[in-house]
């Protein structure tokens, strides 16, 4: 019985070169393309509707998680004052919402806490993407339209 040659190379990293692309973890291992599309649409639409810049970080956070999330928020774009960062660490089971000074005027901490509550209840059921999408929806509903987009 003949077998097809294995064309993927493995364990080819050296001291000076990176691992082969086939050894890198792909984005598809984390979320399916369908889930990515949902996340993408939720982020884009909530950012467009509100004029705020919503970004989402999914990964390990250094402890204390709050200060790491604030660090990430400061690097999240050209105008961190109008940025809202949702930092999510499923391994540590913690979610942090960080709003800049301008965004905090339209998204008070209470509204963020409510959105976080609905997110954590979804995360507790194992529904990461659904929780993020619902949280974004709540946050953008609360923030409303910016004055410049009102007719």
């Amino acid at each position: 019985m003949t077998r097809a040659l294995e064309v993927d190379s493995h364990d080819t990293a050296t001291a000076t070169t990176a691992a082969a692309r086939t050894d890198e973890s792909s984005i598809e291992d984390v979320f399916t393309y369908k889930e990515l599309a949902r996340l993408d649409e939720a982020l884009t639409m909530s950012s467009r509707e509100t004029g705020l810049r919503f970004t989402l970080y999914v990964g390990e956070l250094r402890t204390p998680t709050r200060s790491h999330a604030e660090e990430l928020h400061a690097r999240s774009g050209a105008h961190p004052s109008d940025a809202v960062l949702i930092a999510l660490s499923p391994g540590q089971r913690v979610v942090e919402v960080v709003t800049g000074a301008g965004a905090a005027r339209r998204l008070p901490d209470r509204a963020c806490a409510l959105a976080v509550l609905s997110m954590t209840s979804s995360f507790g059921n194992g529904d990461i993407v659904g929780g993020i999408v619902n949280g974004l929806r709540q946050l953008s509903d609360q923030a409303g339209h910016p004055a410049s987009l009102r007719h």
Partner: protein, 116 residues
């Protein structure tokens, strides 16, 4: 109905149904990723998602202009790579990116935190 027939009807048929149902529950899980369960370790590289920049200011709807929908996901980088990634994601010119992306103070920060 003799003993063999009775066994076949009252033990064989239920057993066959149970086996079929068991196989049905096992089959679809074979090629699917394991779903995240709370408490599981998350050993993926950090990801940073960001919205698409609006092309026309204030032109979200109407006009029939469709903006490309694709996933704008960036792997979180560390060290010197971090500046490069966020210079791209911030949509800035390279000249100002080095100063702009050194952590800017964004005023008093608000927000919330939750655990599950």
């Amino acid at each position: 109905m003799n003993v063999a027939e009775a066994l076949l009807v009252f033990a064989g048929i239920p057993l066959a149904i149970v086996v079929v149902l068991a196989l049905l529950t096992l089959k679809p899980g074979a090629n699917r990723r394991p779903r995240y369960k709370p408490g599981q370790a998350w050993d993926h590289a950090p990801l940073w998602f960001e919205p698409h920049p609006a092309h026309a200011p204030g032109g979200g709807h109407g006009g029939g202009e469709t903006a490309a929908i694709g996933s704008s996901v960036y792997g979180e980088r560390h060290g010197s790579d971090a500046t490069a990634t966020h210079a791209v994601s911030g949509g800035q010119s390279h000249g100002s990116s080095s100063t702009a992306h050194a952590a800017q103070p964004a005023g008093p920060l608000g927000g919330a935190r939750g655990t599950w």
